[in-house]
Amino acid sequence: MKISINGLHKAFESRTRLGIMSVLAVNDKLDFNSLKDYFNITDGKLASQLKVLEKEGFIGVKKSFIGRKPNTKYFMTKAGKKAFNDHLKTLEKLIKSQKQT
């Protein structure tokens, strides 16, 4: 995925993906169900958005078992943290320039 002309990463164009990154930025690790509580979307849609971020290398996945139930935890990678911070900075800059015009 590329960076679009205005300097924003395309991975963050979706509100859900941006939301996932925001939540994971302030929480160490969250499992799928805890993550789902913050979004009003179906399991399938959330899973596919998570997959996009995972492919991008922005989030990591850790699979384990609680008893016999599989438990998947998501966390932000270093690359993800950097990309997210850059995204925030770019947003701020864009807002400032919008205000000036």
Partner: protein, 213 residues
């Protein structure tokens, strides 16, 4: 790409997601006021009707036998106050959460409960041990002290004001550990007065403004 992307909304969304996922904001001010009213009624009944006001560590009027009828009634009143207050808090928080389209039982709620449960259970067991040993004068101070510790510990996951509320409860608990004769009074202030004042304050600060937005 969108025609005119709303960057400011993106930032607002990011902030709100971060806050929602780290802070328990379903706490209702009204629940605090109700808890305060239950506590004041409980303290009044204990003091006026049952004449319960230990003036020393092991009060001679009630500790002759470890479980006198008066003491038993006071303990029952305390448990009733606790159940009523908790029930009201859970119900009102659930209502507030469902109004803002959230689930009450999420990762943040679990964190708040964990943070509160450890000091509260430890304190509760200590108080049971104290009662068993006849040290009834420590019931009120220690419940204030451990409740304050629980609030202080949970405050990082909810409104910041809860931290100062915790500190006030700790101060009242320590004060009445030394001045046992003020135990019932401090308990009424800590669980009654402080809850009512904070409840009203939180309601006006956070709930009124939410209605306007």
């Amino acid at each position: 790409m969108k025609e005119s992307p709303d960057y400011a909304r993106d930032l607002i969304e990011i902030r709100s997601m971060m806050e929602r996922s780290t802070k328990f904001l379903s706490l209702s001010g009204l629940a605090g006021v109700m808890a305060g009213i239950y506590a004041l009624s409980g303290a009044w009944i204990s003091y006026q009707v049952l004449d319960f006001n230990p003036t020393g560590l092991a009060d001679s009027t009630i500790s002759a036998e470890p479980l006198s009828p008066t003491l038993l009634r006071v303990v029952l009143i305390a448990i009733a106050v606790l159940i009523l207050a908790l029930g009201t808090a859970v119900f009102l928080s659930w209502k507030k959460a469902s109004k803002s389209g959230e689930k009450l039982w999420n990762a943040t709620t679990r964190r708040v409960i964990n943070a509160m449960a450890i000091p509260l259970v430890a304190g509760g067991l200590l108080i049971v041990a104290m009662i068993a040993k006849g040290l009834t004068g420590f019931m009120a101070p220690f419940s204030l002290l451990f409740y304050g510790l629980a609030l202080y510990n949970a405050s990082k996951f909810t409104y910041e004001e809860v931290k100062y509320m915790g500190l006030i409860e700790i101060a009242l608990g320590l004060f009445s550990s030394y001045y046992i004769e003020y135990g019932t009074l401090c308990w009424a202030i800590g669980f009654g007065g402080v809850h009512i004042i904070y409840g009203i304050y939180l309601h006006y600060k956070y709930e009124k403004s939410e209605n306007i937005n």
